[in-house]
């Protein structure tokens, strides 16, 4: 799981039996106390999304069903819309999104009357790849029994940290194993730059999480559950691939090659209309066929949802 905190937004991505939405109320309290943003004011925008449920019976309310999650969100936010995107009998994806509020330029708080949206160039893009049924060979890269024994907490993370002038907290041996996996799998090569930090962690006996930070506040994050009966991996990023001479399809190819899933879905939120994924919506990728293609226009964003199956 991961948490990203920017001056103006927070991104929380959690898995398993976590209760993500239970964090909303204490977050509102913290934001009111430390930022001065009134608790009863709506945030500018809220997005909540998730893949279709794998084990709903193991979850805690309100995460036992999409209907309960939407009801919970509606209780907190005034202007949300809920979507189910994809084949509801199989591989689908859920989204809850609120519409932007209005801002007072003096208070910089949302009130009716002044719309600052026209003055703000969002230039925001989020690509998410959710993968299931990982190739056993590729999934085995994320089991600690296959990794070398670690004797201390030193590794190359320190050198990558210094490249961005960042401070890190990496005393757990899980970080050392995580760094080994980051390099052996090629995760550190998804974006070809030395100017990045990959803060990674290997769980015991298996599982992996990492946050990758590149220049100018862009990030990527990966989470892997490699057990065969529920194998799953996710990749999410807001890095503009053009910064590294790439396009979205290049990124997609690299990520899929690391995990070789049996199935995967791709969602792209893009405030501009210049993504190759949006324009081409490929029917085939190497060894995969497309099974779904859906395009939405949300308020200020284009949303593309694609799903693929391996030609096994």
């Amino acid at each position: 799981s991961s948490l990203f905190v920017f001056p103006h937004k927070v991104i929380l991505k959690t898995c398993g039996t976590t209760t993500t939405l239970a964090g909303i109320a204490p977050l509102q309290d913290a934001v009111a106390q430390y930022v001065g943003y009134p608790r009863d004011k709506q945030p500018w925008r809220v997005f909540y999304s998730r893949k279709s449920f794998m084990f709903p019976e193991r979850q805690v309310h309100p995460h036992t069903s999409w209907a309960d999650e939407v009801a919970f969100l509606d209780a907190h936010y005034d202007n949300g819309t809920a979507y189910i995107i994809g084949n509801v009998n199989a591989d689908h994806w859920y989204l809850y999104a609120t519409r932007p509020q209005y801002f007072d330029p003096e208070l910089r708080l949302p009130v009716n009357g002044v719309d600052l949206r026209s003055n703000v160039k969002l230039n925001d893009q989020t690509l998410e790849i959710l993968m299931t049924d990982l190739s056993p060979v590729h999934a085995s890269q994320f089991f600690t029994e296959r990794l070398p024994t670690v004797s201390d907490g030193t590794d190359s993370m320190a050198s990558s940290v210094s490249s961005l002038g960042a401070e890190a907290d990496d005393s757990d041996p899980g970080h050392v194993l995580g760094n080994v996996v980051t390099k052996s799998t090629g995760i550190d090569q998804i974006y070809p730059t030395e100017q990045q930090i990959v803060d990674s962690f290997c769980f015991s006996p298996c599982g992996y999480s990492c946050n990758g930070l590149v220049k100018e506040g862009y990030y990527f994050t990966i989470h892997v559950t490699p057990e065969r009966h529920c194998s799953y991996a996710s990749f999410e990023t807001n890095v503009p691939p053009s910064h590294y001479g790439m396009n979205d399809l290049d990124v997609l190819d690299k990520v899929v090659e690391i995990f070789r899933p049996g199935k995967f879905s791709v969602t792209l939120f893009d405030s501009e209309d210049n993504s190759l994924l949006t324009k081409k919506m490929p029917i085939h990728l190497a060894s995969y066929k497309r099974t779904e293609k859906i395009s939405y226009e949300l308020d200020g964003y284009n949303l593309v949802f694609l799903s693929f199956e391996a030609n096994r």
Binding site: S1, F6, V10, I11, T14, P26, T144, S209, T225, Y232
Partner: protein, 68 residues
């Protein structure tokens, strides 16, 4: 290390302003949400059933790797 995790993720993204400039400079704190201390984030995450494993801070953001 921590026990392995399983299952699809849930992604919550809350924007308090469309850009960092609108929130970072105009309220109590010069850093907006980044003014919230780590201990307070840990309290929030207790409600989510996550623990902080590590944090990396850059000029633009704080990035936490969490348990589960």
């Amino acid at each position: 290390s921590t026990d392995a995790f399983e299952g699809p993720e849930k992604l919550l993204e809350i924007w308090y302003a469309p850009s960092k400039d609108l929130l970072a400079g105009g309220l109590k704190s010069p850093k907006g949400l980044r003014a919230i201390p780590r201990t307070r984030w840990e309290e929030v995450l207790d409600h989510v059933h996550c623990k902080v494993l590590s944090v990396v801070q850059t000029e633009e953001m704080d990035a936490y790797v969490l348990s589960e």
